[in-house]
Symmetry: C2
Subunit: 317 residues, 2 copies
């Protein structure tokens, strides 16, 4: 495919499940070209069938292994599974060093699984926007389930969970205090908590700690009622239960009435990240054209950041 494929042709080919076209259109969504816009709008109107599952958690917590095993289970019952990795620590998004780990995984070489990593460059809102578009493209391309793997460090990365129907937060046992502090920021977004690596000695304590934390009467936990499941990818423990919980949560969010609030939150997130992308593109253009003398002025401390930023904004509006 060395020639530039027209948008409309690309959309048609995505609709037929053409993997090369899917890859091509996701790349265009990432680069956010004006031409992509038209195709992405066409895709959006055909999308909406796929169940979007967000999987997040600290680096080294076993997210990628869990995603592999989860995808393999979903494959066994005939689902086609798309995986979008927004996680720089994921082997799915890694370079040559990590290739072997993907080849060894439970889903290696399965044509019913499509794995895509999103480039972690540009403004964060842009990545979130492109990720939503990638999910739609896979949806239209015939993937029933799309898993977004995102690292649970950095609030932008955590925010991507808002693009999913069902959010799974993975907590490994025994990473100590330092990681607990990180986790505290992501615990509240979970629909389902997985305590991973449950074959490890101290996993029971992590499960108890987590259950105790969730039982605390703080900030709306009671209403949300997240589920907790212990999983070991090494011996398969808990995987069927996890799939069951995911199915149950899917049934709720896809229900016209019961799932309305969740889907509305997803739409709200999408609206905001898309608007943010458009707005920050204008700012980047203004900074490119008019920023240099303002930065020079700021470097000399001849003015202040707020006044000069206000001047830059005049060129955006």
């Amino acid at each position: 495919m060395s020639r530039r494929v027209p948008s409309q042709e690309l959309v048609e080919r995505v609709t037929r499940g053409d993997v090369a076209a899917i890859a091509r259109l996701i790349s265009r969504a990432e680069s956010d070209s004006t031409e992509a816009r038209e195709a992405l709008v066409a895709i959006y109107h055909r999308a909406g069938a796929a169940h979007v599952i967000g999987v997040t958690g600290v680096p080294g917590g076993g997210k990628s292994t869990l995603v592999s095993e989860l995808a393999a289970r979903l494959r066994q019952r005939g689902s086609r599974v798309g995986i979008v990795a927004v996680d720089p620590s994921s082997p799915f998004s890694g370079g040559a060093i990590l290739g072997d780990r993907i080849r060894m995984s439970a889903i290696a070489g399965d044509p019913g699984v499509y794995i895509r990593s999103m480039a972690a460059r540009g403004h964060f809102g842009g990545i979130a926007r492109a990720t939503c578009d990638a999910v739609d493209i896979l949806d239209v391309g015939g993937f029933d389930t799309v898993i977004i793997e995102t690292v649970g460090v950095g609030q932008g990365e955590v925010a991507i969970a808002k693009a999913s129907h069902t959010t799974v937060v993975v907590s490994p046992p025994g990473l100590g205090d330092e990681v607990q502090a990180i986790k505290s920021g992501i615990l509240e977004i979970a629909d389902i908590h997985v305590v991973s690596k449950f074959d490890k000695a101290d996993a029971g304590r992590t499960l108890n700690d987590l259950k105790q934390m969730l039982a605390l009467p703080a900030g709306g936990w009671a209403e949300r009622d997240p589920q907790v499941v212990a999983v070991s990818c090494m011996n398969g423990l808990g995987l069927d239960e996890l799939v069951g919980l995911i199915d149950a949560h899917r049934a709720v969010t896809f229900n016209a009435a019961a799932g309305h609030q969740r889907r509305l939150a997803m739409a709200d997130f999408r609206l905001r990240v898309t608007a943010e992308t458009l707005l920050l593109a204008r700012l980047a253009e203004a900074a490119r054209r008019f920023g240099a003398p303002l930065a020079e002025c700021l470097e000399r401390r001849d003015s202040n950041p707020y006044l000069l930023a206000g001047r830059l904004l005049e060129h955006c509006l």
Copy 2:
């Protein structure tokens, strides 16, 4: 201080080094109230003397211990040191669980050290903007050196390095492939590389790997010429050398001619994050007032994200 202290009084008290006033004004900067704006502009015009050091790296890499030890060394020669933690994994920003670790550290109870964690809520650009303001406040409050500790995961967090004169990237030994992949995104921002925990058995290999990586002829490494130092906070190895490298780098960035490009890059970053904050505040306000029906429309798939986002932007401009 239960009454609302007027801006001007707060600025005067910050200038006299009043720690309560410093804390109060940083909180106002975080909440980005209109009243804070006036004080922050006044602060900005008095700031510019402090050496700002960014310390970043993966969670668990020993950043916080290094920051403590570094601060202790700088204290020994009479510097006053401010620490701004934008790292959710830092004990400096942790809650009750982590308090003990701070109390045990090398700088516990020293009135010449001020530690402040930035709230990791709101839009990322907002945190970066507030962090720059906090650095200025500490600068005006009489701290010669301000260390920004930021977690090296998540690109927004990494970007905060651009707010510093001198960026130190901390790499611990033997964290394996998964973490190497994360690190790859932050290696290129380093002025100084620290291989931490050099008392560990496999630290020599990490040092060699890092040196080899830096010797690769890719993307401008040769020109930037970052320095590498092996440090053990357990036995003090390399800490004097690190302080020496930091001093040498300070001399360059504070030199009128030699440091101009770096200071210009800092000014450019500051201009952009401030503009971004102002712009996204307008977007948030527009979303609050006009977003709900647009999100409803999107949830019903009656329109597409790009068209609706465009409508939302009309209310920002």
